[in-house]
Symmetry: C2
């Protein structure tokens, strides 16, 4: 037995849901197989095998368990959300021309862009088959809408990058597409399949949505003030890649003419020079945007915890509560 | 009025289904819109606007009409299959690094690979929403399975290219993924939504499947013996790209040791020299594989026409019959 005081909430969730997660992993193994196209399991295993916290499938299992579900469709839906997540990672790596993912070379580097695009499509179609097997039109509706939000958010992120007109509402839409839409779909379908009440289903959606937003804002903030040893990222990567995230958006909104010219040059035109990152950070300090962004992340974590109040009193509920604290605790 | 004797079967179908196709086009316009990400309609309009024969949505409308359907889900399903088709074209162009599609520069060339990948994902998620709106789990099952066959076929095509172990059964699986799976799903869902009998639904699937296979075999054969003025392709493109299509597969299967060494060098190793295409064609003539491939295409067209016998006697049925003749008539 581990001491729950020293365990991280996702580790405690993983322990609690170990039996179900084993079934999810078995199902993932079975469904990613392809008799004639061995490239598919090769590429998928590279990514799925690399671990990751399997947070999304755990959210589905946790929601179903908390709502007293007894069947086995939660296993299918957990595998579904993991497949969707893996498919989007494969396509993201092509889009971002990434060389590393989870500390390992990306699939597009190990194989090629073709493999990443096509295996991503294959996993998405596999996820689609899995969700159809639940026989629930409502589940299909939720996941179809989440897929559209994800895809639209990705396109929006691509076109909003380098564009100083990107404001907080567009940022939020990008964040929903990038992270929160799959979190909220994961928790919502867990409740739907368990036959939870409308109030509970809504609460599960709200929890996943707020958790995902808190998670992504924290990630974006850590890009500017994280310890590269812990985050595995270099400070200022987003600035160098000219991504408009919350700390910059808030500084741009208050910029003087001179400061605006700085942002136009560095972000829109991409003509960055030595000392620009330091200047950008100085402007974020001047307008206190790092602190405000931190407050936003904590605000979303609070909303997530608040949403849980409508859900059954269950040990898993406390773990989800602690998980919301945990995703922003990296900011302390 | 046109004279039906001089009209091509797909033109006659387009005329017969004009009112429904207008609705399909309106729905496509509405659903490809994206308030915040204008890149989406831009890219989609480039491709959808380029025309193409809209054969797949017409197959759905034709199947529904022939089976006496009175509702409007056929419109949604026709838009669904066109979205799936457009999404696969966008991803194919990235995979093939194509520069031209339908005589215009491809989206990946006009914008970038990112846009093609992400807008493809967006259209696929939109198609998913449209099919959910029909409320038919059976339709969802058919389209989920077709999506998986398409994606697996694409990966298989990528890995089977340049591999002399590719035999006729793998070729058939690639062809189903590339072309026939969406044709057969298009006709099958038209029947399902119309409440056709099981025998009729099966016949519609068989028709679409055989039509798609005949179409693709004819396409592959024309690569070796077509008139570049009519096909818009240069003779031997597939050979130069080291694609294993039926005329080559049949020749490889009968190759002497010396001939096999030729195929290994030109297809597997890709070390092609002047005169190799002529040598490849000579081997196809030696083993009569162009004639055999032509016979295969006509055989599938016959199966397609045969399948129609189980369907209601209706003017549209004759058009579908003539369409099967038409797709192989290019070989005369």
């Amino acid at each position: 037995m581990h001491n729950s005081m020293t365990q991280k909430p996702h580790e405690l969730l993983a322990e609690t849901l170990a039996a179900e997660m084993d079934k999810v992993n078995d199902l993932i193994q079975t469904r990613m197989a392809s008799e004639h196209a061995p490239r598919i399991p090769e590429v998928t295993a590279h990514l799925v095998g690399a671990g990751g916290k399997r947070l999304r499938p755990m959210l589905t299992l946790a929601a179903a368990k908390m709502c007293g579900y007894q069947g086995d469709h939660d296993i299918r839906l957990a595998a579904t959300v993991e497949f969707i997540h893996t498919a989007t990672l494969l396509h993201d790596d092509v889009v971002d021309e990434s060389a590393q993912r989870r500390g390992r070379p990306t699939a597009n580097l190990l194989w090629d862009n073709k493999s990443s695009v096509l295996v991503g499509d294959y996993l998405f179609s596999r996820s689609f088959q899995l969700m159809v097997e639940t026989g629930s039109l409502r589940v299909l509706d939720i996941l179809a809408n989440a897929s559209a939000t994800i895809a639209e958010g990705e396109v929006l992120q691509m076109t909003a990058a380098m564009d100083l007109k990107t404001d907080e509402s567009i940022y939020l839409q990008v964040v929903r597409g990038k992270t929160a839409a799959l979190f909220s779909a994961a928790t919502e379908v867990g409740g739907v399949i368990a036959g939870a009440s409308e109030v509970e289903v809504k609460a599960l959606f709200d929890y996943g949505d707020a958790l995902g937003i808190a998670f992504q804002i924290a990630d974006d903030l850590l890009d500017y003030q994280g310890d590269s040893k812990t985050t595995g990222k270099n400070v200022g990567d987003d600035f160098r890649e000219r991504k408009l995230t919350l700390p910059v958006i808030k500084a741009v909104a208050q910029a003087t003419d001179e400061e605006r010219a700085f942002w136009v040059r560095t972000i829109e035109k991409g003509r960055q020079e030595d000392g620009d990152l330091e200047q950008a950070l100085a402007l974020m300090v001047k307008y206190d945007t790092l602190t405000q962004t931190r407050a936003d992340a904590f605000g979303w974590a609070t909303r997530a915890k608040k949403a849980l109040e409508a859900l059954p009193d269950h040990p898993v509920r406390q773990m989800l509560h602690d998980l919301a604290d945990y995703v922003v605790s990296r900011l302390n």
